[in-house]
């Protein structure tokens, strides 16, 4: 059941990101809602589920966006695994830590995307990529992530996304 809900949430996040961009973008920068979901889920569930959900979400993103196949998958996998790595090591109820985890994993995901895209001929200077895309997107993701984190955390603890939830 929770995997089904997680899948629906990822699809919903992707649809919002694609179709309602003008309502969520700030100074021309849009948040990566799917990546936020991967980071939060990985942080609360650990490396195994984090990596798996990151892989699945990245695949969905590549499929819908018409991206180069693999960029979304690899960056999603990296974000899910990295946030899962923090699961058993960091305190989950501190918003500063949550902000830091989402920011760092977003940064990592964007960096992986940049390296892969540069290898396929994106032609974007590292400075421009860092200051105009990677850092603003990571910051926006982290700010938006802490807004949704509390609700998601409660749902994972004893709601529809908890391990014990039945149909």
């Amino acid at each position: 059941m929770r995997f089904f809900i997680l899948g629906v949430l990822m699809l919903l996040a992707l649809v919002i990101q694609v179709a309602l961009t003008e309502y969520i973008q700030v100074w021309g920068k849009k948040p990566d809602l799917v990546l936020i979901l991967i980071a939060i889920n990985g942080f609360l569930r650990g490396t195994r589920e984090g990596a798996f959900s990151g892989f699945a979400a990245g695949l969905l993103k590549d499929l819908i966006s018409g991206n180069l196949w693999g960029v979304g998958v690899v960056s999603g996998l990296a974000v899910g695994y990295a946030s899962g790595f923090a699961e058993s090591r960091l305190f989950k109820e501190n918003p500063v830590i949550v902000f830091g985890v989402i920011w760092l994993t977003s940064f990592l995901g964007q960096l992986v995307s940049y390296i892969l895209l540069s290898m396929t001929g994106l032609g974007l200077a590292p400075g421009i990529a860092a200051w105009q895309i990677i850092i603003p997107t990571s910051t926006y993701n982290a700010l938006l992530g802490i807004v949704f984190y509390g609700r998601y955390y409660r749902s994972v603890q004893k709601g529809l996304l908890s391990s014990e939830a039945k149909v």
Binding site: V18, A19, E22, Q25, G28, N67, I128, Q132
Partner: protein, 270 residues
């Protein structure tokens, strides 16, 4: 018998007199006598008090009912206001769309007469900040093909990179993968306009010969030469110009005429 007759006669006369008196005074305003006036004046405050008390009692008695009625009316008015506000928002949206479409139609009938164009709406954007692409709601069914030029009345938007039956993907000029053959309109200085980053509000014009003067504010248009884009479409205005390290070329920063963050309808030149 006799006394009875006199009595009857007197009574009859009295009644007749009374009738005559009443008929005569009917319609005339009667003046109060002293006793009547005194009584009326004395009772006036009592009347007033009774009247006031009656009104108050009626008010108190009907207060809960009035309160309920006011509450019901309030609810109805709130609903009405919400409905009217929603209608106003919808009307505003239609008005804005109408304005934009009128502008497109006006352009098609005037400046765009030489082009065979199709109007389309943007339905999706690329989910990442890396790429500047949008999806429009028209495709092969409208005769659209890859590499067709996409514009708005204010300037160049980009070109179609792939099509499906009902949609097309447009590569915006702000995408770092985009390159447009361009000219400075007045001096005819050539160059290549490239995207910097998808969310950036500026473009970069590279390979401008160093010996040609380029002024700030100069308009940049598509060159059409060896390019996928039609000739003479406005791209933007020069914001600043610098020489590259080699000294052979200049590079200019261009502010596009199109606001890519608020793009809703476009035209595709067939």
């Amino acid at each position: 018998m006799r006394s009875f007759t006199i009595k009857n006669a007197l009574l009859t006369i009295a009644i007749l007199l009374l009738v005559v008196f009443t008929v005569q005074n009917a319609g005339k305003e009667k003046e109060l006598n002293a006793v009547e006036g005194f009584l009326r004046d004395s009772l006036a405050p009592v009347y007033q008090l009774m009247n006031f008390t009656g009104q108050k009692v009626q008010g108190w008695a009907s207060y809960p009912a009035a309160l309920l009625e006011a509450s019901r009316q309030n609810e109805q008015l709130r609903e009405k206001v919400s409905r009217l506000e929603a209608n106003a928002r919808q009307d505003e949206e239609i008005r804005q769309e109408n304005k934009r479409l009128k502008r497109l139609l006006n352009w098609q009938q005037n400046e765009g007469q030489m082009y065979d164009s199709v109007v389309a709406s943007i339905i999706a954007r690329h989910p990442d900040n890396w790429f500047g692409t949008v999806v429009i709601n028209k495709g092969m069914e409208y005769g659209l093909k890859p590499n067709m030029t996409v514009i708005t009345p204010t300037g160049l938007v980009g070109r179609i990179i792939n099509v499906s039956s009902n949609t097309s993907e447009v590569l915006l000029v702000t995408d770092p993968r985009s390159g447009v053959g361009a000219l400075i309109q007045k001096t005819r200085a050539p160059g290549i306009v490239e995207g910097i980053a998808s969310g950036s509000i500026y473009l970069r014009m590279n390979h401008i010969p160093a010996n040609i003067m380029v002024k700030e504010g100069a308009t940049v248009v598509t060159s059409g030469q060896g390019s996928l884009y039609s000739k003479g479409i406005a791209i933007g205005a020069v914001v600043d110009v610098n020489k590259v390290a080699s000294g052979l070329f200049k590079v200019a920063t261009i502010k596009p005429f199109v606001d890519f963050n608020r793009l809703e309808e476009v035209m595709i030149i067939k």
